[in-house]
């Protein structure tokens, strides 16, 4: 996927620059872009290391577990089909806690384990309602402190890199709430269609039985 995006971006720039007569600016940008990238990475490195150090302390002191416990009442409502003392539920809440703390490296393996637990012994290739809720949660960001973005902002000269936190919280919560509601509504509708199909199937079976008789 990235190969296509990368090649497309470069090809589009070359094409555009020929038509718009900006070939010189574009070839200059090649050099300045590479330099800018390294500068950004170097300026970000201090803050990034500081944060991952602090987050490692959070992980070691099991802050994730405390957070997981705090959020389990909400999660219990969101996952009515998952038993609250099951391994699946534990994986889900730990995954959410890790995401909240911005521990992406810890969240992904937990998430994959949660999916495995949600699937259990079933051989079905169709996603269950709980799986959909869980994946939708993981495709929206639910981070308490958007550290990477803040680091990038301060590297590029922001006065107060964290002043967007409140906006990020409101935006994430509204987006996640809407995403989850859409998922829930469509799950319910799916059930109704499924139930109607079941009724239709049983009626058909009755008719066939009558015809045979």
């Amino acid at each position: 996927m990235l190969s296509y995006i990368f090649a497309f971006m470069i090809a589009a720039s070359v094409l555009c620059s020929v038509f718009l007569g900006t070939t010189k600016e574009m070839s200059d940008s090649l050099m300045s872009g590479a330099q800018q990238a390294v500068e950004l990475i170097v300026t970000m490195s201090g803050m990034m290391c500081l944060w991952s150090g602090v987050m490692e302390v959070a992980k070691e002191s099991r802050l994730t577990n405390a957070l997981a416990k705090a959020f389990s009442p909400i999660l219990r409502k969101l996952f009515p089909d998952v038993k609250k003392d099951s391994v699946a539920f534990e994986c889900i809440s730990m995954n959410v806690a890790a995401n909240l703390l911005g521990l992406g490296n810890a969240a992904t393996p937990l998430g994959l384990k949660a999916m495995k637990e949600l699937k259990g012994d079933s051989t079905s290739v169709v996603a269950t309602d709980a799986m959909i809720t869980f994946v939708v949660m993981n495709t929206s960001s639910i981070q308490l402190l958007p550290t990477t973005i803040a680091t990038m902002r301060s590297a590029l000269g922001s006065d107060s890199p964290f002043d967007i936190v409140l906006c990020v919280w409101i935006t994430s919560v509204v987006a996640l709430a809407l995403g989850l509601s859409v998922a829930k509504i469509l799950c319910k509708r799916g059930e109704k269609v499924g139930a109607n199909n079941a009724v239709r199937d049983s009626v058909c079976a009755d008719i066939r039985a009558v015809q045979k008789g």
């Binding site: 971006m9 800018q36 490692e56």
Partner: protein
């Protein structure tokens, strides 16, 4: 933010964790992470700065501006918003472009930061999670996730307007 760091460190001490050792280990992981993302970021930031310098990015947002104006969404943010669910590295490169072009504390810079901070690489996560357990039919999962991404883009602009103008 310093409060958050102090809180984590004191919480760690209370739980009898060797705080400094853990910190150093984590910081080492931070360096490793940067080492891992650096090549991707260099490649994509070069590509994006070429897009910008060639005039392609401006052309794209100008073409799309009639569409975005109707809902009051700044067209300069559209390329980043559209790439966000597809590629994390690509959208980071575009975020970097917006932040350095307009300034991180500008209206556009703030909107871009909020959008990037409240969304994820939807397609990547969806593929990863379902593939790992062999799910082929994902029903309305992707649709619901994209609704969330679209909402985030709109709400980000609204909240930044609310909190930072006047």
């Amino acid at each position: 933010m310093p409060c958050a760091i102090a809180f984590v460190l004191i919480f760690g001490l209370c739980k009898r964790v060797n705080v400094f050792e853990a910190f150093v280990r984590g910081a080492k992981d931070g360096i490793k992470m940067l080492y891992n993302i650096a090549p991707t970021l260099i490649g994509l930031i070069v590509a994006v700065s070429m897009l910008k310098a060639s005039g392609c990015l401006t052309l794209l947002s100008d073409t799309l501006s009639p569409l975005t104006e109707k809902i009051g969404f700044p067209s300069e943010l559209l390329p980043m918003t559209l790439l966000r669910p597809v590629s994390g590295g690509g959208s980071t490169a575009l975020l970097n472009q917006v932040l350095s072009d307009y300034g991180p504390d500008s209206f556009l810079g703030r909107c871009a930061s909020v959008i990037a901070g409240s969304t994820e690489t939807t397609f990547y996560a969806t593929t990863l999670y379902y593939n790992s357990v062999g799910i082929k039919k994902i029903r309305h999962s992707l649709f619901a996730s994209l609704v969330a991404d679209f909402t985030a883009a709109v709400v980000a602009v609204v909240t930044v307007n609310l909190f930072f103008l006047q």
